[in-house]
């Protein structure tokens, strides 16, 4: 791969309004980055372009709330998996409760747990990672400024026959 953007670099070009999304185009790399080279954990945590509103009086509390809700979600996910597992175990008559209590993970199991744990932490602490992205790229124009811009009085309708028309093939 030659001069394309680093797929892991979330905000390759800083502008006052965040990265120009077009700059993520793999210009100059005929094949672009290999999808397999993208880190799904970092790609998932990408911040949406646009200034994030704060609702609570203390922005710190807002962040704690966000983290708490991610944890709450993951607890529900884990609870559902345990529920699946317990029902299957009971159904098949495979295990007793003491087998779970005495379980020792081997190296393979431990590595799988570590990989899972990395993704887990990234998911839970997403809000802080996105704060860092905003520091790099700017937080974005306030929404009311864009409302003003996009809502500017409209020009009169154009002539009914634009010059660029071509029939569909």
């Amino acid at each position: 791969m030659s001069s394309g953007p680093d797929p892991a670099s979330l905000d390759p070009v800083g502008t006052p309004d965040g990265p120009d999304p077009a700059s993520l185009d793999p210009v100059g790399t005929p094949d672009g980055p290999d999808p397999a080279s993208l880190d799904p954990v970092r790609m998932a945590n990408r911040r949406a372009l646009g200034k994030r509103p704060n609702f609570l009086d203390d922005p710190a509390v807002e962040r704690v709330l966000s983290i708490t809700m991610a944890v709450a979600t993951e607890l529900a996910v884990a609870r559902e998996r345990i529920d699946t597992l317990e029902r299957l175990l009971v159904q098949k008559g495979v295990l007793g409760a003491e087998d779970i209590e005495h379980f020792q993970p081997d190296t393979t199991a431990q590595e799988a747990r570590n990989a899972w744990g990395r993704e887990y932490i990234a998911r839970v602490l997403r809000i802080l990672e996105q704060d860092v992205q905003a520091m790099d790229s700017g937080a974005g124009a306030p929404m009311d400024q864009l409302m003003e811009e996009l809502g500017q009085a409209s020009a009169p309708p154009p002539a009914t026959t634009p010059t660029h028309n071509t029939e569909f093939p």
């Binding site: 290999d34 709330l65 409302m147 026959t161």
Partner: protein
């Protein structure tokens, strides 16, 4: 499950096709948890926002103003410091961000596989026409629409489809399943309405503007299998994904074409039906008349144009308008607020349709009720989810048929 909540389907029930991402046990559990969270916010906590307004915010505001609040902006400024509203809003925003994160984590870990499948369906297909010279308009680039990182158009890899796959995977979560198995409740509603109001009508050519992944135009293509359907959008990744999705679902009469609604690459009077679904609020005041003028230009005599949107604010109770405006300020939909101020009758009339041709009606998502819930707010026991409920205002206009004598004269003119 809270018995006061509508029955909730699982993400497992979402319709599958070749480019739909696979989800593991835990990924499904995450989507389902976020769906439950959205239902809780709309059904349990949103009524509290109204209660907070009625019991403590409005009385204080009315006392301060010496009159009842007049518009949604007065309500919004007063509500901003209400603790319950603050928490409801913070949670609603955060749930959307979590949904985006969850969708992207599912998509990016299998992007290579999904792209291979899309490539196989898209390669050399004449029904997928991408045009790299099409620019993303400012209203698509200014922010990432509804907090979807990279919006519809950002390409990270060659022949990218990730934005389409993420959008498709998450529609169920945001709408709590109310758009149905293939998120096509809007398109199904349009078909239903056409069959009722234009029975037997067979449009020969159909144009859908701002189609994204084509989820709302598929029912039209299926209902009118003889019709030639053209679906346009400015964003290539959703067109690639939408084209592969349609092919995989055995819908072959749609051409997905990269083009702007402001400059439709089609001859005058070349479509019998022109549609949009939840489209206008993602444009701008400058673009709207341009797009409607194009709709009028490409519509054939005797043709019909029909558009699904959330209701306009005119005449609406200030509190309801304030709640419906939430996405404008807090979910990266900056044109939503001004779009809903438009006099759509005037827009349609000024675009060439002429006075008296505008019509407006109400439509509700048509979905398989055995599996998917009725729209929130539709029954006595459920609560409106402002701005997200699939109960729409549908507006449009017909273009008068050319008198037969004139039509014959036009045809007689040598090309």
């Amino acid at each position: 499950m809270d018995p006061s909540l509508p029955a909730q389907p699982s993400w497992r029930q979402v319709g599958r096709h070749a480019v739909f991402p696979n989800a593991s046990h835990d990924e499904v559990a995450r989507f389902d948890t976020l769906t439950r969270l959205n239902l809780h916010l709309s059904q349990v906590l949103a009524p509290g926002v109204k209660k907070a307004y009625q019991t403590r915010v409005e009385p204080a505001l009315a006392a301060a103003l010496g009159r009842p609040p007049q518009d949604r902006h007065e309500v919004r400024r007063a509500m901003a410091s209400d603790l319950h509203y603050q928490f409801w809003s913070a949670l609603r925003r955060n749930t959307m961000e979590q949904r985006q994160q969850a969708g992207r984590s599912v998509v990016f870990r299998q992007l290579g596989t999904l792209r291979d499948r899309a490539d196989a369906l898209n390669a050399d297909a004449p029904t997928l026409q991408l045009d790299p010279s099409v620019q993303q308009p400012r209203y698509q680039r200014a922010v990432d629409i509804h907090c979807m990182p990279g919006s519809y158009h950002t390409e990270v890899v060659e022949r990218d489809i990730a934005p389409g796959a993420n959008y498709d995977a998450g529609l169920f979560v945001t709408t709590a399943g109310m758009l149905g198995r293939y998120a096509d409740g809007g398109g199904q509603a349009i078909v239903d309405w056409l069959q009722k109001h234009r029975p037997g009508w067979q449009p020969r050519r159909i144009l859908d503007i701002g189609c994204t992944i084509g989820h709302n135009v598929l029912p039209l293509a299926q209902a009118f299998p003889q019709a030639e359907v053209v679906a346009i959008d400015t964003a290539a990744p959703v067109l690639r994904y939408g084209h592969a999705r349609a092919k995989s679902l055995q819908v072959h009469n749609i051409q997905f074409r990269q083009a702007s609604g402001e400059a439709v690459p089609a001859a005058d009077e070349s479509f019998d039906l022109v549609t949009t679904a939840m489209f206008w609020h993602e444009t701008s005041n400058t673009a709207m008349p341009r797009i409607m003028a194009e709709v009028h230009r490409v519509l054939a005599p005797g043709g019909l144009t029909l558009h699904l949107e959330q209701p306009q604010y005119r005449g609406m109770d200030p509190f309801e308008a304030f709640m419906r405006d939430w996405d404008a300020y807090n979910n990266n939909e900056p044109f939503w607020t001004r779009m809903h101020e438009w006099d759509l009758d005037e827009l349609v009339t000024r675009s060439g349709f002429g006075a008296g041709s505008y019509f407006e009606t109400t439509m509700q998502a048509k979905v398989d009720r055995a599996l998917f819930p009725a729209p929130l707010g539709a029954g006595d026991s459920t609560q409106e989810d402002y701005g997200r409920t699939p109960t729409w205002t549908a507006f449009g206009a017909s273009k008068p048929a050319r008198p037969a004598v004139l039509d014959a004269a036009v045809k007689a003119v040598p090309a």
